[in-house]
């Protein structure tokens, strides 16, 4: 997330809108955004509705045993079609901004 924020100018130049999604409530997201200085959109999915639609539910992995999202990144083109996916196998290893930008530059 920090990496995305640091590369926001490049994302903007590529016309890519980054959006972060988790089960956090808007209040928690808002706290995180303020504290970490994130300027892109954070969406709240407390009932894991979107997380379920994308088959990313990590059952019982939250601090109180609630369902949370496993980390994943999807790059969609302007028609909403998936053009690049990263389903990490280790949650400490995430997509690097340059990988996403490379995929983004191949979009029409």
């Amino acid at each position: 997330m920090r990496g995305i924020e640091q590369s926001l100018t490049q994302f903007r130049e590529s016309g890519i809108r980054p959006v972060a999604i988790s089960v956090d409530s808007p209040a928690v997201s808002s706290g995180l955004v303020t504290q970490a200085g994130y300027t892109f959109t954070f969406l709240s999915d407390p009932q894991a509705e979107a997380i379920r639609k994308y088959d990313l539910v990590h059952a019982g992995a939250g601090i109180d045993g609630q369902d949370i999202a496993r980390p994943a990144e999807f790059l969609l083109d302007s028609t909403g079609t998936v053009r690049w996916v990263n389903l990490t196998e280790n949650y400490w290893v995430r997509a690097r901004p340059e990988q996403v930008l490379e995929a983004a530059n191949k979009l029409r």
Binding site: S22, G62, A72, L75, L87
Partner: protein, 150 residues
């Protein structure tokens, strides 16, 4: 003071630092996060110090042989435990992720959704795809699903 087993204590403290500095600091940078080489390097140095410390703790010339041995055994055991939990949490536990075989694939339409943003405003995937970025329709949207801070 000359008899103080500094290598043992330094080794133990360094293992604590090697463990904590990953989530608190090195996780911020992709080069030190994807593979925790700095932390493993710190553990190697910590291990060497602990080994020197154990040798010293069990040496014949200690002023308090019993106390020295107990400290040597306890601190080295704790250091090993710290290293084990580091390896467990960074290399093993973090891989316990669902396979997500039903996740949208390249070429498929991304499922629509409507969720609240951090100000509480409802935002749909359609809005994200069409509302302008810097006055222009975006070329694409990057969805980043993350575990959250609960």
């Amino acid at each position: 003071m000359k008899k103080f087993n500094w290598a043992l204590w330094a080794g133990f403290l360094l293992s604590v630092i090697a463990f904590l500095s990953y989530p608190l600091f090195f996780v911020r940078f992709a080069v030190t996060r994807d593979f925790p080489w700095v932390n493993l390097l710190l553990f190697v140095v910590a291990g060497a110090l602990v080994l020197i410390g154990i040798r010293r703790a069990f040496a014949a010339d200690r002023p308090h042989p019993k106390r020295s041995k107990v400290a040597g055994a306890t601190l080295s055991l704790l250091s090993v435990l710290i290293l084990s939990s580091f390896i467990f949490s960074i290399f093993i536990m973090s891989r316990w992720l669902p396979p997500s075989t039903g996740a949208p694939r390249v070429g498929q339409k991304a499922p629509d959704f409507t969720l609240a943003d951090s100000t509480g405003k409802a935002v749909s995937l359609g809005d994200l795809l069409t509302s302008p970025v810097d006055g222009k329709v975006p070329r694409g949207v990057l969805l980043i699903f993350f575990r959250g801070y609960w």
